[in-house]
């Protein structure tokens, strides 16, 4: 074994990154070879020198001055996002009695529909094969819809009384996404709009419409407070002819 190989093993062990094979090989070598023990000692001294360097804390004014600057300088899009957020805050529902009755007649399911209207004929997408590792709550469901001129991935996550809808997509041209929800059960509190020029979103009772006019849109996020736990669904449709996939917002066990 070369000295360099030996020292690489020593480094890996001192870093806590060696596998069992490396550790055993190093131990065998150390038992048999005084030179190897000397190398270990030198390497430990280097690590100790680096460990002996004192830590420095940032001065307290760093946080204060950053936050003062941030408050003076809201991000460009923050203003209209805040206006949007205010539009999305819970408000009293005023609906004719007939409409209310019809709503109940449709069942106690709160329906959350996400509609992506792009173009061309629809094709039902397959479930997302990879695991998305976003750490908001836990994933309830995820789907991918592939289109001839774009794709969209949607994921629902639950965190306590919140439901998140996370969307990623890439579109060859403008895409229109609609989120339909029952505002007796869901109170949207945050929407992060798509990036890209010309993107905009609007909301009206029970529906949020997102138009992404950029080359691609990604990192759309929609969050709502869940007023009542219960079965909820998201449906995805794309194209005028519509392609759709349903996404559960609550785990199957909770829906039963």
């Amino acid at each position: 074994m070369s000295d360099e190989r030996l020292e690489q093993w020593i480094d890996a062990v001192l870093d806590g990154e060696a596998d069992a094979e490396e550790r055993e090989a190093l131990e065998r070598r150390l038992r048999a070879d005084p030179e190897a023990r000397e190398r270990l000692s030198q390497r430990q001294a280097l690590f100790e020198s680096l460990r002996a360097v004192p830590n420095h804390e940032p001065p307290p004014e760093v946080l204060a001055s950053v936050m003062a600057a941030v408050r003076r300088e809201p991000r460009r899009a923050a203003g209209w996002r805040e206006r949007l957020a205010s539009l999305l805050t819970p408000r009293p529902v005023r609906r004719p009695r007939m409409a209310l009755a019809a709503g109940f007649a449709l069942g106690s399911l709160a329906t959350l529909a996400l509609v992506a209207l792009i173009d061309r004929s629809p094709r039902m997408g397959a479930p997302v094969s990879g695991t998305m590792t976003r750490p908001i709550g836990h994933t309830v469901d995820q789907r991918r819809i592939a289109l001839s001129r774009g794709w969209i991935e949607a994921e629902t996550r639950r965190a306590d009384s919140e439901v998140w809808v996370l969307l990623r997509g890439r579109f060859a041209e403008s895409a229109r996404i609609e989120i339909h929800f029952d505002d007796r059960e869901l109170s949207p509190v945050l929407v992060v709009p798509p990036t890209g020029d010309g993107s905009h979103m609007e909301t009206s009772a029970g529906r949020t419409t997102i138009v992404a006019r950029g080359e691609h849109a990604s990192r759309l996020a929609w969050r709502a407070e869940v007023a009542r736990p219960g079965p909820m669904w998201i449906s995805l449709r794309a194209g005028r002819e519509e392609a759709q996939a349903e996404l559960a917002v609550t785990p199957p066990a909770a829906r039963e």
Partner: protein, 178 residues
Amino acid sequence: MTDEVLVLRSLGGDTGAFGEIVERYQRVIYTLAMRMTGSPEDASDLTQGVFLKAWRGLSGFDPHRRFFSWIYRIAIHECLNHRRGGSRFQALEMDPVSEARGPEDCVQGHEIESHVQQGLARLSEGDRQLIILRHFLDESYEAIAETLGVPAKTVKSRLFTARQRLRVELERRGVEDS
């Protein structure tokens, strides 16, 4: 609350959420800047600049990646620009004795720090970043690999080489047994 939730809330205009991000990462960014520049004043200015850039560019964060990797790139870019802007790496200035250590430890610590800082300044940018990420920011091989966009095996071999070079620099400065 997770980094991603804080980012999303910040994107929605919640400055309080961004404040939590700053609190969470200011120490690592300051440490990085400190080791890259050797100057507490420059490190302080750079840390503030990094978080302001992060605030302005928050929509560029890809939630599929670690937030640290994203802000690290901003920070390293700022540090390199700072260096190109005329400031040179310098030996560390002494700062007040830490209350957590005895005077002897502090003197010894500062002496070692000064040598290590000078040694770091003699390394290439790549070697310096590896040493900082592993030894001062305590990042694993896997995490360093993600941050630098190279395989973990490459991190392991490059880190070994970087340490060899640092050891030579420390020996030149008389740091014993290095």
